[in-house]
Symmetry: C3
Subunit: 431 residues, 3 copies
C-alpha cells in the first residue's frame, strides 16, 4: 500500500520536497568544485573541476546500474548486509513517483560521497585512473547506505541513527580521502625542507565554494526527512535551525582558534574547515537535537576539523582540501554526537524509542553509533585500499613527475594558461 | 472551472512546484553567462555577461508586452497559428495564481531561448544592436511555443510531443544561433592561415557555468509537468531520472570520443558540449521515456553535439560556444527521439494516446516530430535573417574592426583590465 | 489553535514554501559576496568574502540569541515597540514546525540586512571590529522588524505595508551603510586630486553576484507571503511577476541613462545599481501592485539608484558598492510606492482594507509609509552611529594606513597574491 519502500515520499507533497531538495543538493557539486579549484594551484584548476563532473557522470552511471540496488533493493535475496533489486533502475507507472524520486534523492547523496574524495587526490592523480575510481567508488558507499538506512540494514536494526549521513556520506568519503591521500603520497615538494612549495590557490574561489555548500547543506539535511507530510515538516524545520546553528558554532570556533593561535590573524582555511566540519557534524543528529545542542556539536566539530587537519599534515599525509579531517573526523564526531545528545523523536520515530547518553538514554545508543562508526571506517579503508591497488597495478594511478610538474590542465586537457601575449596586446591596444 | 488555461497549476501545490522550478530555472542565466564568459577572450568577458542581463531585461519586457499573449492568449481571434490576448499581462484576483505563475514559468523559458543566441554572436556584435535583437527575439520564440504547447496550436493538434522544449526552446535558439553566427561572419582572424587566433578563455569558468546549467536543467525538465498534483509528480520524478541519465550518457560519450580521437586527452570543450547536448536532447522526451532509453538518447546527443560542432567549424561558421550544435542539432535530435522512443503516457496523456516507432506506435508520431522540426527550423531561420538584415541596415550590427580588436569591455563599457601597475604595487608592498 | 504566531506556516504545504524560499534566499549571501568582491581591489577580495561569512556566523548567533525574540517574541511583556520571548530560540515538538520554519525564514532576512552594510565598509575596516559590528547589527534590524511585521508592532497597527522589507531590510541596511561609510571616511586616496585611485575591480564577478541576487530575490519577495495556502499562492505568483517586471524597468532605466549621459557607453555599475535598485523598490509593494505599476516603480527605482549614487559620491562619502543608494534610497522609495500604488488586498488582507493614493485610498497609507520610513531612518542612523563610536573607542574601527595600503587579504589573512614566480615557472614548463 505504501509503495515499494518503507520510507520515501508517499504523496506529491512529499515528492515536491524530495525533488526540490535534490535539485538544491546537486548545486553542492558546484560548491565542491569551486572549493577544490580554489585550493589547487592554477595549473590544475580545470582538471579538478573535470573530476567533479566525472563524479556525477561515472558515479551516477554506477549508482543507476548497481548502487541504488545494493543500497535499497528489496527483492528476493535482500539481506541485512546487502540489498538486491532495482539494478538498472526502472519501475512501473504506478510506482514511478516513489521509486524515481527516491532514486534521484539518493543519487544526489551518492555523488556527494564520491566527490569528497576528489579533493584529497588532487594535483597528482591520472584522470583515467580517477574515472575508474569514481565508477567503483559507488560500491564503497552503497553498502553502508544499506546498513544504516534500508529497513532491513543490520545497523538500522540495531538502532543506529544517522539522519542525513555524517556516517554514510561523510565518514565514508573522509576515510576514502585519507586512505587515498596516504596511498598516493604527497605532491612533489609538498614537504620539502626548504619550504619551496607554493600552495597559493585562490581563497576567493574556495570561499564561494564554501558558501554554495553551506546553503546546499540546508536542503541536504532538511530533505533527509524524506518528505514533508505528517510530522516530517516539523523535523525538517528543526533540521534547518540546527544546521544553521551548528555552522554558527563552527564558524565561531574557527575565528577564535585562528585569532588565538595565529597571532591575531584570521586564517581562511581554518574558517572554511571549521564551518564545513560543523556542518558535517550536525548531519547525523540534525533532526533529533535542540538548537543549543547543535551549537555545541558544531563548535566541537569546527575545532576538531582544524585540530585534525594539523595532525594529518604533521603525519605528512597530503590532503589538499583537508577532506580527511572535515568529512572523516567530523563525520565520526557527528555519529557519536547522536549517541550523546539525541532526544527520542515522537513524531516519526527516527530514534526507535531511544535517546542519547545526556538525555538519560544510557550507553546503548552511543555504543551502536560507535560500532557503526568503526565498521564504516574499516569497511571503507579496506575497500578503498583494494581499489587503489587494483587501479595502480593495471592502468596506473599517479601522474609522472614530469606531468605533475607541468600540471594536469596542460597534460590531460591541452589547456594553456591564458596567453600573456594576448593580454599584453590587449593592454597595448587600449593605451 | 479549471481557470483560463487548459494547462498550468490549478492548486497551490502545483504553484509551489511551478514557482520553485521557475526560480531555479532563472539560475540558468548565471550558468549561460559563465559558460560564455569562459569561452570568450578576456577583453569581452564583462560584455558577454551584460548581454545575458540584456536578455532578461529586454527579452522579459517584450515577453510581458506581446510574447506571452502570442503564445498562450486565448481571447477572441486566437487561432492554431497565433494566440491573442494577455498582452501587457494582467488578470483578476481570482485568476492571479494560475495566470501569473504560468507567466513566470514561461518567461523563464523564453529568456533561455534568447540567451542561447548571445554566445553565438559573441565578441563582434554591437551591444545596441544586441539590445534590439533580444527584444525582438521573443517574436521568433513565442509562435513555436504556441504551435507546440497552446491547446489550439496546430502542431499540438497534430499530436507533437515536446515536453520541456527541445524544439520550442533549444532548436529555436540553436537555429537562431547558427544563422546569426553565419550572418555576422567570423571574428577577426578566427580562421587565419597562420593560426594566430588565441581562443584562450577560462575553462574553469565554462565548467562552473556548465555545472549551474546542469542542476538548473533538472528544474527545467521536471517543472515542465506544469504541476505536481495528479499523475504529474510521477512524470516529474521520471523526468529527473531521465535528465540525469541522459547527462551521464552524454558525458560518457564526450569522455570516450575525446580519449579516442584526441590522443588520450580529455578535451574540456568536448566534455561540456557532450553533457549539454545530451541535456538538450532529453528535454523533449524526458517524461515519456525510460531511464535506459534516456541513456541512449543522451549518449547519441553528446556525440552529435561534438560531431556537429566540428562540421560547423569546418564550414568556417564561427560560433564561439557551439550553440548551433548543442542547442540546434541536439534540439532536433530530441524532437525526433520522441518519435522513436516515446511510451504512451497513461497518467497525464502527454502523448495523446500515441507512442514512438520503437514502442510499436508506427511512423505517425515520428512524422509529426520531424514536420515540427522542419517548420521550426524554417520559421526561425527566416525570421532571424529578416531581423538581422533590418538591424544591420538601420543601426548596424557588427563592431568596427578597431573596436573588435580593442575588445567590447573597453569599447562598450569603458572597462580597463585590472591595472598591472596596481598589482605590482601591491606585491611590492608585501615584500 | 493556529500556533504561536499570527503569521507563519500552518500546514506542511506552507512549510515547504517557507523553507525552500529560505534556502534560496541564503544563496543571496553568495551573490552579495561576489558583488562586493568584484568591486573591491584585488588585495581585499578574500577579506570581503570573509566578512560576508561573518555576517551569517555572528549575525546568525545574535539573531538566535536575541534578534528573533525582540522581533517576534509574544511572551508576557511584548509590546508595540519590542517583542519579548523566544530568546535562544527553542520550542516544543508540537510547535516546532511553525516556530522553527519562521525562525529560519526570518534569519535569512536578518543576515541579508547585515550583509548590505559590509560593502559600504569595504577595504578599510578592521575585521575584529566588523565581527563585533555584525553581532550587534542584529539589534538595529530586529526592532523595525517588530514594528512593521509583528502582530502588535506599532507601525503595523497604524497600517504600514512592507511585504518583503524595502523598509525593514533594505532601508535599515542602506542607512546603516550610509552612516558607516561617512563615519569611516573615504579609502586612502579615493578623492585625491590627481585621480590616482585605481578602482579596478572585477566587473564579471560583480555581474555574477548581481545575477545570483536577482534570482534569489524572487524567493525573497514571493516567500514573504509566509506560506502558499489559501490566497497566498496567488499573492506569491503576483509577486514573482512584479519582481521580474520591476527589474526589467530598472534595467531599461540603467541602459538608457548610461547611453544618454555617458557618451553611448553602457556603464556596468549603472546597470547593476539600476537592476538592484529596482528590486529593492518592489520589495515592499510586490504583492499589492499590478505588473505595469511594478514596471513604473522599478524604472523609477533604477533611476533613483543611479542618481543617488552620484550624489553620495559628490558628497565624498565613499560607499564602494553604492549600498546607501541601492538599498537606502530605493528602500525608502519602495515604502512610499506602496502609499501611492497599493491596491486593497482582498485575499489575505495585507493592506488592512486600505489602498494607495493613486487607487483612491487617499493620503492615509502614504502618510503611514512616510512616517515608517522616517522613524526607520532616524532609528537606524542613531543606533549605527552609537555602535560605531563604541567600537571605535574600544577596539578601534579603521585599519592603519599602512595596513590599508597593503590590503586586508595580507594583513588580516596572511594571503599573498598567487606567486608570479610559480606562474612563470608553469608557463616555462609548457613551452
Amino acid at each position: 500500500e505504501a509503495g515499494p519502500f518503507s520510507f520515501g515520499p508517499v504523496t506529491w507533497d512529499d515528492a515536491t520536497w524530495i525533488l526540490t531538495s535534490s535539485f538544491i543538493i546537486f548545486t553542492m557539486q558546484t560548491g565542491f568544485g569551486l572549493l577544490e579549484a580554489g585550493v589547487v594551484r592554477r595549473k590544475n584548476e580545470a582538471n579538478i573541476m573535470v573530476k567533479n563532473a566525472i563524479d556525477v557522470i561515472f558515479g551516477g552511471l554506477s549508482y543507476w546500474v548497481f548502487g541504488f540496488g545494493l543500497s535499497f533493493g528489496d527483492s528476493y535475496g535482500s539481506n541485512p548486509f546487502c540489498g538486491i533489486g532495482y539494478f538498472f533502475v526502472e519501475t512501473s507507472e504506478e510506482h514511478m513517483g516513489i521509486v524515481f524520486s527516491t532514486f534521484v534523492f539518493q543519487l544526489s547523496f551518492s555523488t556527494t560521497a564520491t566527490t569528497i574524495v576528489s579533493g584529497a587526490m588532487a594535483e597528482r592523480t591520472k584522470l583515467t585512473a580517477y574515472i575508474v575510481f569514481s565508477f567503483l567508488n559507488t560500491l564503497i558507499y552503497c553498502l553502508p547506505a544499506h546498513w544504516y538506512w534500508a529497513s532491513n540494514g543490520f545497523l538500522r536494526k540495531l538502532g543506529i541513527v544517522d539522519v542525513a549521513g555524517s556516517g554514510v556520506v561523510h565518514l565514508v568519503g573522509g576515510v576514502s580521502a585519507f586512505v587515498s591521500a596516504a596511498f598516493l603520497k604527497p605532491r612533489l615538494g609538498r614537504y620539502a625542507k626548504n619550504n619551496s612549495f607554493t600552495n597559493a590557490g585562490n581563497p576567493v574561489s574556495s570561499l564561494i565554494g564554501t558558501f554554495i555548500l553551506w546553503w546546499g547543506w540546508l536542503a541536504f539535511n532538511c530533505g533527509s526527512t524524506f518528505g514533508i507530510s505528517g510530522g516530517k515538516w516539523k523535523l525538517a524545520s528543526r533540521s534547518a535551525v540546527t544546521t544553521l546553528n551548528a555552522s554558527v558554532g563552527g564558524g565561531v570556533a574557527g575565528v577564535i582558534i585562528s585569532f588565538t593561535t595565529k597571532k591575531r590573524k584570521y586564517d581562511v582555511e581554518y574558517l572554511i574547515n571549521s564551518i564545513l566540519g560543523a556542518l558535517v557534524a550536525i548531519t547525523a543528529p540534525c533532526a533529533v537535537v535542540k538548537p543549543w545542542e547543535s551549537l555545541v556539536i558544531g563548535t566541537i566539530g569546527g575545532a576538531l576539523a582544524i585540530a585534525s587537519s594539523i595532525v594529518v599534515n604533521k603525519m605528512k599525509i597530503d590532503d589538499p582540501v583537508s577532506a580527511s579531517s572535515v568529512h572523516g573526523t567530523c563525520g565520526l564526531w557527528g555519529l557519536l554526537a547522536v549517541g550523546l545528545f539525541a532526544h527520542n523523536d515522537h513524531l516519526e520515530n527516527t530514534t526507535q524509542g531511544r535517546s542519547g547518553l545526556f538525555q538519560g538514554g544510557g550507553l546503548y545508543l552511543f555504543g551502536v553509533q560507535l560500532l557503526g562508526g568503526i565498521i564504516t571506517i574499516v569497511w571503507t579503508a579496506v575497500l578503498t585500499l583494494v581499489m587503489l591497488i587494483c587501479i595502480q597495478r593495471t592502468i596506473g594511478l599517479r601522474m609522472s613527475e614530469e606531468d605533475e610538474e607541468r600540471g594536469a590542465d596542460f597534460v590531460e586537457h591541452m589547456i594553456t594558461i591564458p596567453s600573456e601575449e594576448e593580454y599584453r596586446h590587449t593592454v597595448a591596444c587600449m593605451t
